[in-house]
């Protein structure tokens, strides 16, 4: 645990000693602003909620989160620092966890930086702040899911571009899992149980209910187990690469 915290601190500090953090946060705020106010029709709707703000998060994260996660392991491999990191007296799992938590904490900071939207809606009207809080939690959980997938994919390569592109595709599958385009692929030959299982993996399904203010334990468990599975795969991949 202590080692994980040490890795977490180093990683998180790393975001802010490079322009990565500032560029990311500025772009993130810019895009959420454009999407919420122009495409989401925040004012035109004349409703005191943040639905247009959260509506775009799954799509925004699709591009932005892989940009964070692509470097997690691919960069360590490229610069050779992975050899420094993995010969420290820590387990591979602790290294994976430390790096993941730092990335997650960083996205939490970026998400927290969107607070002016929250202030705006409170100035203009009388929103249900409980719903807004739930949606923020749901958004953060979803970001964690994207990050875990991206981190796992980043561990497979030393090329950040490959990690970025493959992570987008990987996350996209989880967004689309609930949509007919993907389910059609299974219908006809797979049993209904498989189709139900596939659709239950959709990020959208689990995010939509939370963003309406309902924190269902099943949704939380979904994200927690998704993150757990991908981080475990991440650890196994790193250990397998040692034996290659």
């Amino acid at each position: 645990m202590k080692s994980t915290t040490t890795i977490l601190k180093r990683e998180l500090r790393g975001y802010f000693t490079t322009p990565v953090a500032y560029v990311f946060i500025v772009i993130f705020l810019l895009l959420t602003g454009i999407l919420t106010f122009y495409m989401g029709g925040f004012f035109e709707r004349e409703q005191a909620d943040l639905a247009p703000f959260f509506f775009f998060h799954p799509w925004l994260y699709l591009i932005l989160v892989p940009a964070i996660s692509m470097r997690l392991w691919a960069e360590e491999r490229k610069t050779g620092t992975i050899e420094l990191l993995l010969t420290l007296p820590i387990s591979t799992g602790q290294a994976v966890m430390g790096k993941f938590l730092a990335a997650w904490a960083f996205t939490a900071i970026a998400l927290a930086a969107t607070f002016p939207v929250w202030i705006t809606v409170n100035v203009l009207g009388d929103p249900d702040n409980g719903v807004i809080l739930a949606a923020y939690i749901g958004s953060l959980l979803m970001a964690g899911g994207y990050l875990a997938i991206g981190s796992c994919i980043s561990a497979m390569t030393n090329n950040q571009v490959i990690a970025f592109v493959v992570s987008i595709v990987g996350c996209l599958l989880f967004i689309l899992a609930g949509l007919p385009a993907v389910l059609d692929f299974f219908t006809g030959w797979a049993p209904q149980a498989v189709i139900d299982t596939v659709s239950s993996f959709s990020f959208m399904t689990h995010f939509n209910s939370i963003s309406k203010g309902v924190i269902d334990l099943r949704d939380v468990i979904f994200y927690a187990s998704l993150i757990g599975c991908f981080l475990l795969a991440n650890t196994l991949i790193l250990d397998a690469k040692k034996g290659e």
Binding site: R10, T81, E83, P89
Partner: protein
């Protein structure tokens, strides 16, 4: 202290390390020699737990690197090939990080870091970003992180590569000072270095140990008393006949 038993590593069809066995005791400075691609770095990577052997095993201070990697890694200080370091950190933050992960108690950290900074002469660049440092400084920061926790075992992959003659001399002196109570394994291309600092030399080529003895004995094998001649003779004689 370090026991290596029939160590093997294959990358696909290529046998990088092919049945290497030796053991090293405290007080010994073992020079690892061999042509490029002979398997020196691969062997070191297996000792430090960065690579998993295809066969055989390594024991570090009684701990099996495969079964109990954390106990083994705790005893080791390691300078990987090319001295990889986090480019966005400064030598100070890097040393603080390594000291913390390597379990140097918070109360002793400052003193330990001050000591190694003086030992490798990096006080002047302590707060500069590592990616702005020269190759020689980077190598010395790499060396500092390897010794910051005062390990019993030091594995140094080409510690003097990229240093100028004066810096090489300093590093050799440092290795000599530390050799009293430590096990040190270093790899090098520089034959005089082996003569200057090592109490034992192992020559490895095509993944096999082809010489294990003192540098002095090695030198005596050559009629002209030149190390590079013996080295060439040993390493080329063992080469498989080419088509």
């Amino acid at each position: 202290m370090i026991e290596i038993q029939d160590l093997q590593k294959s990358f696909g069809d290529f046998r990088a390390v092919d049945g290497v066995s030796f053991s090293v005791e405290p007080g010994e400075v073992l020079g690892f020699l061999g042509p490029n691609g002979a398997g020196k770095s691969t062997t070191m990577r297996m000792i430090t737990g960065f690579l998993t052997p295809t066969g055989g095993g390594v024991k570090v201070a009684g701990a099996d690197v495969g079964a109990d990697p954390i106990a083994a890694k705790r005893r080791i200080g390691y300078l990987p090939e090319g001295a990889p370091l986090y480019p966005d950190m400064t030598p100070r933050t890097l040393l603080e990080f390594i000291a913390e992960v390597r379990g140097v108690p918070a109360s002793e950290r400052r003193a330990r870091i001050e000591k190694v900074v003086a030992q490798v002469h990096i006080a002047g660049v302590l707060d500069q970003r590592i990616d702005t440092l020269s190759k020689g400084f980077k190598r010395r920061v790499g060396l500092a992180q390897a010794i910051v926790h005062d390990p019993e075992i030091l594995i140094l992959d080409e510690p003097t590569d990229g240093l100028d003659p004066n810096q090489k001399h300093e590093v050799r002196q440092l290795i000599e000072e530390m050799s009293q109570d430590k096990v040190i394994i270093l790899s090098t291309h520089i034959l005089e270095e082996v003569e200057a600092v090592c109490s034992r030399a192992i020559i490895i080529t095509h993944g096999k140990v082809v010489y294990d003895g003192t540098p002095q004995e090695l030198k005596e094998r050559s009629p002209s008393g030149r190390l590079d001649e013996v080295f060439r003779e040993i390493t080329t004689a063992a080469a498989p006949a080419l088509g």
